[in-house]
Point group: C2
Chain length 256, copies 2
């Protein structure tokens, strides 16, 4: 693990890669302690700040954790599901916002993935999952809700549906897809009538889940996707019409 070509460019990146490969390749296992910074500096024949920069890169990816003190050091970190959630959400959110991904594309992907969970969720959902879905539906029907709160409840509803599949890997994958959509969803303003239709569709889905009817859940999600796409289209059309002549429609981007 002491490969370091004479290429004197980005030493810290090379060191980080070497250690990362050792972790991914299983030569460093969970909770194992890495050599101290001084020892690593000696091994790689670089200075301690350079080693530290490499370790910070790994820490940023939750690959290691550090502990101070006598028996401290850098330890290979067990990548937990919550850590992985966070990374996935950050990555997905930035990916969508920086690459001019259209609402349509993101929405299609989100619902396609969610339909993947529908049969499993219908089969395995517990009473708890169903209760969570019902609770979110109830919240969404309250009149005073802000658009942000409505969207957040929407995410929570779908989260409950996905978690019903009882497959942590699926939940992890979907968390990114659903949450990354939220900034896009927050651009939409919901009229009372829009909300009523969405709540009705949510009720259809919850009922289907209660009946353990996977096909019906899938159908409900498809209907919800169509409704969402239509709603978004009308909102964006109205917005771009309003902006015509004022300033070029920027496509996306919040306009606080």
């Amino acid at each position: 693990m002491k490969i370091d070509p004479s290429n004197p460019a980005d030493l810290s990146a090379q060191i980080a890669t070497a250690i990362r490969d050792a972790i991914v390749g299983g030569r460093l296992i969970v909770d194992q302690r890495l050599p101290s910074e001084a020892e690593l500096a000696e091994q790689f024949e670089v200075s301690r700040p350079t080693v530290r920069e490499a370790l910070k890169r790994l820490a940023a990816q939750s690959l290691i954790r550090t502990q101070r003190g006598a028996t401290g050091g850098a330890f290979v970190n067990r990548l937990s599901f919550p850590d992985a959630y966070d990374q996935q959400i950050t990555t997905s959110t930035l990916l969508l916002s920086m690459n001019a991904v259209s609402f349509e594309t993101a929405c299609e992907a989100r619902y396609a993935l969610e339909r993947a969970c529908a049969p499993l969720s219908a089969k395995r959902r517990t009473a708890d999952h169903l209760a969570n879905m019902r609770a979110e539906i109830h919240r969404q029907a309250q009149p005073g809700l802000t658009d942000e709160a409505f969207c957040a409840s929407d995410v929570a509803f779908h989260r409950a549906l996905v978690d019903g599949a009882a497959n942590p890997v699926l939940s992890y994958q979907l968390a990114g897809a659903v949450e990354a959509m939220q900034p896009l969803m927050n651009m939409i303003t919901f009229t009372a009538r829009d909300r009523a239709r969405i709540v009705a569709l949510h009720e259809d889905i919850a009922n289907a889940a209660e009946e353990r009817d996977g096909m019906a859940v899938t159908a409900g999600l498809s209907a919800l996707e169509a409704e969402t796409q239509e709603l978004a289209q009308s909102v964006f059309a109205a917005r771009s019409a309003r902006n015509t002549g004022k300033n070029e429609a920027s496509g996306l981007g919040p306009e606080k």
Copy 2:
């Protein structure tokens, strides 16, 4: 963006978070240049090495890139799809290997997600996608292939199927799920008969895609999942039987 509580712990992490929030929140936009390290050090009232550690954290997540020279500096990076792929694959691979996720769970998640693309892929796949699938099938049927090469071709086949959906967000999500499975798949040894069955199922899927029959693609994927699960089960059963009395079955972990 100069929030820095007096909490004197992990200054570089705090600074990284502050800058990351500025990027995610849109206060720093793509290709915008950050202040120089010296200026950041002054703003945050820390030393330059501390600032550098923070910047390396961000660089590890592909949030910034740095350039040397007179007009150099740190620039907000456009997170590209390939960059996002890589991060997702690394994260997913580690998540699976470090959390004792069973083959069964991972496999189920993978095929569930893949089925999500099936209808779209059947509808939108081009002749190119189909040709890629056929080419991989042809490769898989060759006798001299190693297990690793067979698995790699399997990934390529499914990649072509997923890309057929023509939704980059879906492709991005699936890349992680499919590629992260590869280390688990590589633990399986395929007999000639196993391969023949898999190739036959791949042909069914390709034929269904050719006919643009989404339902048939979905059914083919389900059949493939069942086949894979069964195969894995028998391999693991045989392996654990062989190991009984020798050493405790470790569940996962490569044994090169």
